[in-house]
């Protein structure tokens, strides 16, 4: 039987406290990985490896944290993501909440899509498909 959302969250909290050296109470659903929890680029890969082990899942490159979509010049206009780019991001990240980002899709705001909740959603989708 698939674990409940609370159980998934609890495991992810352990993963993030180990990977980022933060306290349990800092890992709340809305916390952003970079802004609130201080994750650096290499930490994202560390988190991926730890999630794979914790949940016995395989996370292909770029699936949880898409990192190359905005390398396409068609998807960025100045400091903003184009409507086409936004659609690409939404398609690539069904696990992310775009409700705020979509209003003002600045490239610099993209890290705010990567929250604890984003990871919980992703793992739930992966476990449901397993």
């Amino acid at each position: 039987m698939a674990p409940s959302r609370d159980e998934v969250f609890t495991t992810i909290r352990e993963v993030l406290t180990d990977a980022l050296g933060v306290d349990d109470d800092e890992v709340v659903a809305e916390a952003t990985l970079q802004g609130d929890l201080g994750a650096e680029s290499i930490d994202f890969l560390d988190i991926v490896f730890r999630l794979e082990k914790a949940f016995a899942i395989k996370i292909p490159k770029g699936e949880l944290f898409p990192d190359d979509i905005l390398n396409n010049p068609e998807f960025v206009d100045g400091d903003k993501v184009t409507p086409e780019g936004l659609e690409q991001l939404k398609a690539a990240m069904p696990h992310a909440d775009f409700s705020q980002f979509a209003d003002a899709p600045f490239v610099s705001k993209m890290p705010e899509l990567f929250t604890v909740n984003t990871i919980v959603n992703y793992v739930e989708i992966k476990l449901a498909a397993a």
Partner: protein
């Protein structure tokens, strides 16, 4: 510059695990400053010894095609000092390995007794990634490091060199 913090491999199972030893000696300059009258090997250098053991293990697994960069010390904890006359052994095990990176877990022993754990993460950096402004050659696995493995092959009792675990 010599920056070799392991003396010899004593076990090497490709893609799985490796053990290397390091004999700590007063011939090493740093021990006279760390600390005067109380020579102990800085734990940071034991982490480096584990990084070299595990890094060569990871590099060999992919044919030394990429530069293997120590990307993150996932955890490191020591319960005892090591000093002149002690022999350290670094046991490293590959936990995860793919085209992006590798994760290893490691145990440090002093004269046979466990004194620490060092878990590391390595990033694979291909020389072809010009955006990183890296040298064209493999700047991690220099001849000095490769000689360590060559020495292991020579010393291996049954002459088989590196073993390949199933």
């Amino acid at each position: 510059m010599r920056w070799i913090w392991i003396d010899a491999f004593v076990e090497f199972v490709s893609k799985q695990r490796a053990s290397a030893v390091k004999n700590v000696t007063l011939a090493e300059d740093y021990l006279h400053d760390h600390f005067p009258g109380y020579p102990v090997m800085p734990p940071t250098l034991m982490i480096e010894g584990m990084a070299q053991t595990a890094g060569i293990l990871v590099g060999e697994a992919r044919g030394f095609a990429e530069n293997v960069i120590l990307a993150k010390i996932r955890s490191a904890a020591f319960s005892d000092y090591a000093g002149p006359g002690d022999q350290l052994r670094y046991d490293a095990t590959v936990d995860s390995l793919d085209e992006r990176a590798a994760v290893t877990s490691g145990t440090v022993f002093k004269n046979g007794s466990q004194i620490g754990n060092v878990d590391l993460m390595f990033s694979h950096v291909n020389q072809a990634e010009k955006t990183l402004d890296l040298p064209d050659h493999n700047f991690v696995f220099t001849q000095q490091f490769m000689n360590l493995l060559a020495g292991f092959r020579r010393l291996d009792a049954d002459g088989s060199g590196i073993t390949h675990g199933g």
